[in-house]
């Protein structure tokens, strides 16, 4: 059972300042251009922490950067040796992470620990504290209710905050969250009955405020039962312009590719970069053969991975319903359009 506390909003900045003394603080920030991005906060006064808009990106790039140097290597005719890259991972507190994005981190935890734990991911993940924010008011393209990854979560967070106007309800989840409450206990007050009622009310209201009706369950069932007609794949794939934006923006897309860049004849640098299953080079083998050689197949791979293969593998879809891929696609190919088509709606 999670513990519940109250944090008055008046004291939020003060608490964040205390956290900043020990952690690098990352929070959604509205910049002068009006864009809201997860950014490192240098000063609480100067940063405009924005909890009212959906952050445009998730916290994926902080745990799994778009381009990461794995190590520099050097070799000679007689021996092969390399220098491990040892980055200084910085303890980081992520504040204002939404339920969908937190669910995505939980998914990445699973993916990066299959078979062998990925050291590059976990050196950052292990140093992270996640203070999530339950969603009282879903954004325009959100459908986490349908993917069961929000708007409120029961577990996975270190702390979960619920906005109750002048105060936050604070729930402890994992041990690191409990520690924070213990260390800074003078910030937290006990919960009264009206607080619990207010939180329940907020939860009920949030559930009724979704603007998108997305039949994720129905689509999953249909995908498990029968193949989707080729025309649907074709109509979607004709519009795909290969930008990779859906995969890059997606908080659960974790495919990467490895590249060696030579710095001299006998030395180089190995990097890994985000990849996308919609790219034709994703499946092309050395020698040029490509087992998946049509755009239809790559679109299929993307949606089936999210809604079929991961259901088979992990018992749940890997779409967290954040809606970020909706409206950004150059050709209007997004997961909501696909689910609607798969369920026979237009």
């Amino acid at each position: 059972m999670n513990d519940h506390y109250i944090l008055k909003k008046d004291h939020l900045n003060s608490l964040l300042r205390r956290l900043m003394k020990e952690y690098r603080l990352v929070a959604p920030t509205k910049n002068p251009h009006g864009d809201t991005l997860f950014s490192i906060i240098d000063s609480i006064e100067q940063a405009h922490i924005d909890l009212a808009s959906q952050p445009q990106g998730s916290i994926k790039p902080f745990l799994f950067p778009q381009q990461e140097v794995l190590f520099d290597y050097e070799h000679s005719a007689t021996i092969d040796y390399h220098f491990e890259h040892t980055p200084d991972s910085i303890p980081t507190a992520f504040f204002g992470v939404r339920s969908c994005d937190l669910s995505a981190v939980l998914y990445m935890d699973v993916i990066f620990s299959q078979k062998k734990r990925d050291p590059y991911y976990f050196e950052k993940r292990n140093e992270a504290i996640i203070i999530s924010l339950a969603c009282n008011e879903p954004f325009a393209n959100c459908f986490c209710n349908a993917t069961k990854t929000g708007p409120f979560l029961e577990y996975g967070f270190d702390l979960q905050l619920t906005d109750l106007n002048d105060r936050f309800m604070v729930e402890t989840g994992r041990a690191k969250g409990c520690e924070i409450v213990k260390r800074f206990q003078h910030f937290f007050e006990p919960v009264e009955e009206r607080d619990s009622k207010a939180q329940y009310q907020a939860f009920l209201e949030a559930r009724s405020h979704f603007k998108q009706q997305v039949h994720v369950e129905q689509a999953i069932k249909r995908l498990a039962r029968e193949p989707i007609p080729e025309e649907i794949w074709e109509s979607l794939s004709l519009r795909c312009q290969d930008c990779g934006g859906c995969a890059y923006l997606c908080p659960t897309c974790t495919c990467f590719t490895i590249t060696d860049l030579a710095t001299s004849a006998s030395s180089g640098r190995r990097i890994r970069s985000w990849d996308a299953c919609t790219f034709s080079g994703f499946t092309r083998m050395a020698g040029g053969h490509n087992p998946i050689n049509s755009r239809t197949h790559s679109i299929k791979q993307r949606f089936l991975h999210k809604l079929k293969y991961d259901v088979q593998e992990h018992g749940r879809p890997s779409c967290v319903g954040c809606g970020r891929c909706v409206g950004i696609c150059f050709g209007g190919v997004d997961i909501i359009r696909f689910i609607n088509k798969a369920c026979g709606q237009n």
Partner: protein, 528 residues
């Protein structure tokens, strides 16, 4: 562009000519798809069946180089169907009678024959375009890279004026600019005949203005164009060249001539971020800072002047091109010190009227400003030619068909068309060093129609010796319906297949734009 990119999403009919929009201008294509989802109709004029053409309601797959006959046929049909905008023609244009006389002399069947498109299809497109309330024409290098490029553009302007499809929001003629700052480079007077803001060098009034501002005497004789310089030959008038961020050894037509010119210069100075094919020939190479290492502005296709912001200091001992020029000028005894690029922009605002209101502090605080922007209080201009054309009345210039400089014959039976692919950019100096992009497209492919391929015994992946009268290259074949029978297509990004060894250096006499879209070539399968 006379319109803004976002206006395209609101158009009712979009006519795209000679533009592989989904690959070369993805954000523009995105607006076209938005428009289609709102019910707009799309007409695509392209010899190739591009991705966009697959979405077209009407695809006019013309023979390469037959743009003028097609547009003339469309205009004639518009006249015959009584769809011309007479009021607009009367109020806003001149020389209409010349166009009308030319069109009435046209034999429609004969004209359609030249284009290779059935007359009924041309008629449907003409009527669709003419009947629309809001119609946009987007065109790109498929229109301009012909010996008759200027006339092609003029014919598009004729069509737009004939139907009154200019001077309104969501309506107009939009050339898509191929490079990030090609608009700005022209605006800034990196042109042989013009000072910044298109003020001719041979007009005494303008020259005096710049002489006073710069404190030195200036030449009033227009200079040489790019190809006149790079093709001047080993004994040409040009003895020394300074090249900043360009790679003519891959981008210019008929590369043998370029190589002969550059190799025989007394001095070649190149400033670039990588050792390009051109820099490798240089006597001096300056290491330039990339866009992430400097401050300045770019002007996009819709004339929007936007900030480029420095993110990191220049790598190693790199310097920005701006700093290099200032330093060089200083050594040569001409004082060209500026505190910052913002100060340079202040001088531009002073001397270039269309940039009159452009200042870094203003551009910094918004999403850029679209020129013309006359002064600090001016909000910029989202679409051009509102109420009046820049030159007064729109002038009709009738144009007639002009065959490409080099047509296929028995020795060279195929038409070679060249262009870009989505994952690469121009000579690939940046994109070929980008591992993700290079993985997607790391070599040139020669697109060949299946019928031709069958005749030549070619399969995808086979090597082909591709030759023209000027040179040859070895390239991998890719069999696809995208190209019409008798035509082949490839890109110019890769030094391994320097396709511009083959291309024709025939060029439009006015715009000096080379005919990259039509060269006669021969294909021979290479047996491994």
């Amino acid at each position: 562009m006379t319109n803004s990119i976002n206006e395209i999403a609101q158009a009712q009919v979009i006519l795209v000519s000679g533009s592989n929009t989904t690959e070369a201008h993805p954000q523009v294509a995105r607006r076209m798809f938005d428009a289609i989802d709102r019910g707009a109709k799309l007409i695509v004029i392209d010899p190739r069946r591009t991705r966009l053409a697959e979405h077209a309601h009407i695809h006019l797959a013309i023979r390469p180089g037959s743009d003028i006959p097609l547009l003339n046929a469309m205009m004639r049909i518009i006249l015959d169907e009584n769809l011309a905008d007479d009021l607009f023609i009367e109020m806003r244009t001149e020389n209409y009678h010349a166009l009308r006389d030319m069109l009435y002399q046209l034999d429609l069947d004969e004209t359609a024959e030249i284009t290779g498109v059935p007359l009924a299809k041309i008629s449907a497109a003409a009527q669709l375009y003419a009947r629309a309330q809001k119609a946009v024409v987007c065109y790109c290098l498929g229109v301009t890279q012909h010996i008759c490029g200027t006339n092609n553009v003029q014919s598009i302007a004729n069509l737009a004026m004939l139907t009154g499809h200019v001077e309104k929001e969501f309506t107009g003629v939009d050339p898509l600019r191929g490079q990030n700052n090609v608009q700005g480079a022209c605006d800034m007077g990196a042109l042989p005949g013009h000072f910044p803001s298109y003020q001719p060098v041979n007009t005494a009034e303008y020259r005096t203005k710049f002489e006073q501002a710069w404190g030195t005497e200036l030449s009033g004789t227009p200079g040489l164009s790019l190809m006149e310089m790079t093709h001047s030959g080993p004994q040409g008038a040009i003895r020394g060249m300074l090249i900043m961020g360009e790679n003519p050894m891959l981008s210019d037509p008929n590369l043998k001539k370029v190589e002969a010119t550059l190799k025989n210069l007394d001095l070649l100075v190149v400033s670039d971020i990588f050792l390009t094919e051109t820099a490798a020939l240089a006597d001096v190479v300056f290491p330039a800072a990339s866009f992430a290492e400097k401050t300045g502005t770019f002007t996009n296709s819709e004339r929007r002047v936007q900030m480029v912001r420095q993110v990191i200091p220049p790598l190693g001992s790199c310097r920005s091109d701006g700093e290099i020029i200032m330093a060089l000028s200083q050594v040569m005894g001409y004082d060209m010190r500026y505190e910052s690029m913002a100060e340079v922009m202040e001088e531009i605002a002073l001397l270039a009227p269309i940039y009159g209101g452009m200042f870094h502090d203003r551009i910094e605080g918004c999403w850029g400003l679209q020129w013309p922007c006359w002064n600090r209080d001016h909000a910029g201009t989202s679409f051009l030619h509102k109420y009046y054309f820049t030159r007064g009345r729109g002038h009709f210039v009738p144009a007639t068909h002009e065959a490409a400089a080099e047509l296929p014959d028995a020795d060279f039976p195929f038409i070679l068309n060249t262009g870009r692919v989505y994952h690469q950019y121009h000579t690939g100096t940046m994109t070929r060093q980008s591992s993700s992009l290079n993985r997607e497209a790391s070599e040139a492919l020669l697109e060949v129609n299946p019928q031709d391929a069958a005749r030549l015994g070619l399969r995808t992946g086979d090597w082909v010796e591709l030759s023209s009268r000027r040179g040859s290259a070895t390239v991998k074949a890719h069999i696809t319906e995208q190209v019409a029978k008798g035509s082949v297509y490839t890109s110019f990004h890769f030094p391994a297949v320097a396709i511009n060894l083959l291309t024709s250096d025939a060029r439009d006499p006015k715009a000096q734009c080379p005919e990259y879209k039509v060269s006669a070539v021969r294909l021979e399968k290479i047996n491994p």
